[in-house]
């Protein structure tokens, strides 16, 4: 074998290697797609899909660690138990009510804040800071702080009411007031992010549209409803959906503020799941409750997916 032919062989091998490499780096669409999506799939599979499957399975079991008895398959018994469980109904109703109140609430407040923040301020950072701080504040911190705000004796809310001549209230003594305080806190916490997204949306609306409207003699209110709002709609819809899903999972704020009280009147579904699983160790019933929550979330997701695909179809 001559030196040249060996060299040729080596060169050939290098060539095939390079081809393999480039195929690896530049594969066809499907392989590439699979490759790109694989990390996300592995992670979602391990952290969500596998535990969810386990949860679904557990929801058909009578599995309470406090009984010491082994798990027993009971079919739909856990779901049947739910129907007769007043706390479940109360918690579910509270969750839905919180969603129905705080989602539009956060939208309206957020829209207001965004419109205010969109004014031409000379120094912008204090305004932005005041939108961003409530958002970056952990929910558990917000719950703690507002629990302190609404304290009937040492809280600042009653103090302000007293100062303007109104009687203070014992907020956490009444289901309605406690519920109102919780909704207020959630709205406060959620509205800042809403405001930021809307503010971002506002700033993409071309100025020329308003100038043209000015020429046409449209007033500011009309401009708002005919230009601003329609153009903001896509932004708002997405923000609303994410907000709705988060609202269905409400846990930290009522947990910190009232712990579900007085009685069980401000408990949410997430709190009840947590209680059944972590405190009562009734894994079967807890899992069944979780499945119900999952179904609720899926309903919202379905609406969302429909909206997205609807828009894509229109594209």
């Amino acid at each position: 074998m001559t030196v040249t032919s060996r060299l040729e062989q080596v060169a050939e091998r290098v060539e095939t290697r390079r081809a393999m490499l480039s195929r690896l780096l530049d594969p066809d669409e499907t392989t590439l797609g699979a490759l790109l999506l694989a990390p996300a799939a592995v992670l979602l599979g391990g952290v969500i899909v596998y535990p969810v499957c386990k949860l679904l399975y557990t929801s058909f079991l009578d599995l309470s660690l406090t009984s010491g008895a082994p798990a027993r398959f009971v079919g739909l018994a856990n779901f049947q138990q739910m129907l007769e469980d007043p706390v479940f109904w109360q918690a579910t109703w509270n969750t839905i009510l919180i969603t129905l109140i705080t989602v539009p609430g956060a939208l309206v407040v957020g829209l207001g804040l965004a419109l205010l923040a969109n004014l031409p301020f000379n120094i912008r950072w204090p305004v932005r800071l005041s939108l961003l701080i409530p958002w970056a504040l952990p929910l558990s911190f917000a719950g703690l702080i507002f629990a302190w705000f609404f304290h009937s004796e040492y809280g600042v809310v009653n103090d302000v009411l007293n100062r303007v001549g109104l009687p203070g209230a014992i907020w956490f003594n009444s289901p309605r007031l406690a519920f109102a305080a919780i909704c207020l806190t959630i709205t406060w916490k959620a509205s800042s992010f809403m405001a930021m997204i809307i503010l971002a949306g506002l700033q993409t609306i071309p100025r020329s549209l308003y100038e043209a409207a000015d020429v046409d003699g449209a007033g500011r209110v009309r401009q708002f409803f005919e230009i601003t709002l329609p153009l903001l709609k896509p932004t708002i819809v997405v923000a609303l959906i994410f907000r709705t899903i988060a609202a269905l999972q409400t846990f930290d704020i009522p947990y910190m503020m009232t712990g579900g009280g007085p009685g069980t009147s401000t408990a949410t579904l997430a709190m009840y799941i947590h209680q059944n699983t972590v405190s009562f160790l009734d894994l079967g019933y807890g899992s069944a409750l979780a499945v119900v929550m999952f179904i609720l979330s899926m309903c919202v997701t379905a609406v969302y997916l429909r909206m997205i695909s609807g828009r894509e179809g229109a594209r």
Partner: protein
């Protein structure tokens, strides 16, 4: 987008006095709770039970801060929170950039289905997965590590970041990418040298969203990392609470220590956060 080009006539109001009123409303709404905690952190426990309550501390004291640092390793909590948030943000960005590119650029057969799956999966409340996740982490021997939090936090932010980035990538003209590929870039090269830099505001927005999500989380952090040296801030704050006692001034001091770094970050990056959202990130 520069500040001067920002449209202002979208608002209903304008004029100087109105602007002043607006600023007051915004600042009181956004900063009062934090300010109140700041004031409380300078009060003594005795002053807190005075009636009527005091607004400004009578005899401001730094005692609560000293106690906050003495009672618990507060700086370690901060460091853990920060590192876990940072690492999970990095991982989220890496994975979601890849996934978003596939969804935005490739002709995938099941694109709609994949999108739906990613979103659907994200709606499963993590509260409900506590016990199965704990078992998984234990099986993988990950309890009491940063990884035990980084993985679920990454999953927590993955869907929303993927959505944000997908819509950003869709906004980058294909021509630019093709040109890069003709110049000898591979697809990956084009992705990381052209698409990602051009989507910088979106990547930044996604990163901020991921960071705040991790920074915020309480329940998993409470359950997975019991070693004090690995606890994060929201969990650490709870430790100031006693079996019966609830020392408000000390907790306030600890809260302030927890809020300040984020506030500083926000002041530095505020322009970018808003402009990132502006560029159409969350339009789905």
């Amino acid at each position: 987008m520069s500040a001067t080009a920002i449209s202002t006539s979208g608002s209903l109001l304008s004029g100087k006095p109105l602007r002043a009123v607006a600023a007051v409303i915004l600042i009181v709404n956004g900063l009062f709770p934090a300010l109140w905690i700041l004031l409380t952190s300078f009060k003594t426990e005795a002053e807190l039970t005075l009636k009527p309550i005091t607004w400004l501390p009578h005899a401001p004291t730094l005692q609560n801060y000293m106690q906050a640092f003495a009672d618990q390793p507060l700086l370690i909590f901060l460091f853990n929170s920060f590192m876990v948030a940072l690492l999970s943000t990095a991982l989220t960005l890496l994975i979601s950039v890849l996934a978003a590119y596939a969804l935005a650029r490739l002709n995938l057969r099941f694109r709609g289905l994949i999108m739906s799956l990613i979103i659907a999966v994200s709606t499963f409340p993590l509260v409900t997965l506590l016990v199965p996740l704990f078992e998984t982490m234990r099986a993988l021997d990950l309890l009491n590590t940063w990884t035990a939090l980084i993985l679920p936090y990454t999953v927590l932010s993955l869907p929303v970041c993927t959505l944000v980035l997908t819509s950003f990538f869709e906004g980058i003209p294909r021509d630019l990418e093709n040109a890069a590929m003709i110049d000898g870039c591979t697809r990956f090269g084009a992705l990381f040298r052209v698409v990602v830099p051009l989507s910088a505001p979106g990547v930044f927005t996604a990163g901020i969203l991921a960071f705040v999500n991790s920074w915020d989380e309480f329940l998993l952090a409470l359950s997975f990392n019991s070693n004090p040296a690995l606890r994060t801030l929201p969990v650490g704050i709870q430790l100031y609470q006693g079996e019966f006692a609830f020392p408000w001034p000390v907790i306030s001091a600890a809260l302030v220590v927890g809020i300040v770094p984020v506030a500083v970050l926000i002041v530095i990056f505020q322009e970018r956060v808003v402009s990132g959202l502006t560029a159409g990130g969350l339009k789905g």
